[in-house]
Chain length 240, copies 2
């Protein structure tokens, strides 16, 4: 039996193709098989981000998953793709799975990782997360010194969201999408609306950054709300 | 008066020089002035990470700050460096400030940003955070689906640490250093020691990854503890 190929989870960053790492570009260049998630009926965002760095002649696998709000793709869909990818790995071919942002911070890469990493050599190439990208384009430090940062998924229910946010200094709320009105109501209730920013498609050509109070009621899935600490850290004076 | 230069905060990633982004490499290549933090008496880690990508002939500014455990560098140190950097910007020269990991997630870049961004064009190039790097080398997804992730600085006192961790699903504890025994005691008290990993110098040649229970009592500043959610997310079945 030949030496198996390596499974790579490759973070391609938040959107700007220049925010791929040198390592991501190298792995994509050498792997004969490239796979990427593509919600049913849409183009793959991960592939679009990496497109300038994908040489011609690759075997490509679009991992097409049904997008049902509030639900996750069924296990059997991933079982099928894992079997397909395992075929390439067993035949000695490296497979690079492109992941928006970073593979292990909320990435769908985990579904294939959990099915394949025990049987094949696996490497994760970390990427620039949407969190770092949103902080960068929002124009102010998100978190500093000894502040606690809480990363909260927007689909949480209102009570849970309120408990988590109420207990946070700085917070980033991900996967905003259709949950925007609920999230905004909670932030307003907590009196933190003046410290909240809305960021959509950070680092892409059509990015939007605005105070949360001005954000539209319907946001795309790839949007984020940043809530700064109630107090700015303006100096370097020691804190206890 | 000539057009002012641009101030760039450039994330150089966690340690592997291949984890710079293409954009970081481009900005470093074109900026005539490169600045980087260097704790007094030590080499600059940020410069060491970016070294293969720094062309000869740059004006370099080492931002030397006193390292006093539990304290932050004094304001007047940053005032002086900001004045020096402002001189270059006013003369039309771009200045790239190299930042370990990402500039706006716990970076010392904020001290210069707060002093200069109002007066000069400023751009932040996000980088691969130490959080993403530690998750990548730890060999399992850190956080997924609708889990909350809490990022906690290790210097917090024991009671605060316990309150924050007790309230977390997945957590990452940064700036571990000399606080390791205190942090480990809290994690043990909370019964989460079997879900905790220690990561030191992630993605560097001498990186270390081990169960927290096996970690040494004295850790370097650039180390992190990852605490996974009490329950694995093994399937894609919908959750409420």
């Amino acid at each position: 039996m030949s030496k198996p190929g390596t499974l790579y989870g490759v973070g391609v960053g938040p959107g700007d193709p220049d925010l791929l790492t040198l390592k991501a570009v190298k792995v994509i260049a050498q792997a004969p098989v490239i796979a990427y998630p593509a919600a049913a009926g849409t183009d793959s965002l991960a592939r679009a981000i990496a497109a300038p760095h994908i040489p011609a002649g690759k075997t490509e696998i679009a991992i097409v998953t049904p997008m049902v709000p509030g639900r996750f793709p069924a296990n059997d869909v991933y079982d099928d793709y894992a079997r397909d990818i395992a075929g390439h790995l067993a035949a000695g071919r490296d497979v690079a799975i492109l992941c928006e942002g970073d593979p292990f911070l909320y990435g769908s890469f985990m579904y294939l990782f959990l099915r394949l990493a025990e049987d094949y050599p696996t490497r994760v190439v970390p990427g620039v997360s949407s969190l770092a990208a949103c902080a960068a384009v929002a124009g102010a430090p998100l978190v500093s010194r000894n502040q606690v940062l809480t990363v909260i998924p927007g689909p949480l229910d209102e009570a849970d969201l309120e408990a988590r946010l109420g207990n946070s200094e700085a917070a980033a709320i991900m996967k905003v999408g259709r949950h925007l009105p609920k999230i905004r109501a909670v932030i307003e209730k907590l009196g933190r609306l003046d410290r909240a920013q809305y960021v959509e498609r950070a680092t892409m050509a059509d990015q939007k950054v605005m105070p949360l109070v001005d954000a539209p009621d319907t946001a795309p899935y790839f949007s984020m709300i940043l809530v700064r600490s109630p107090e700015d850290v303006e100096t370097t004076e020691p804190q206890t």
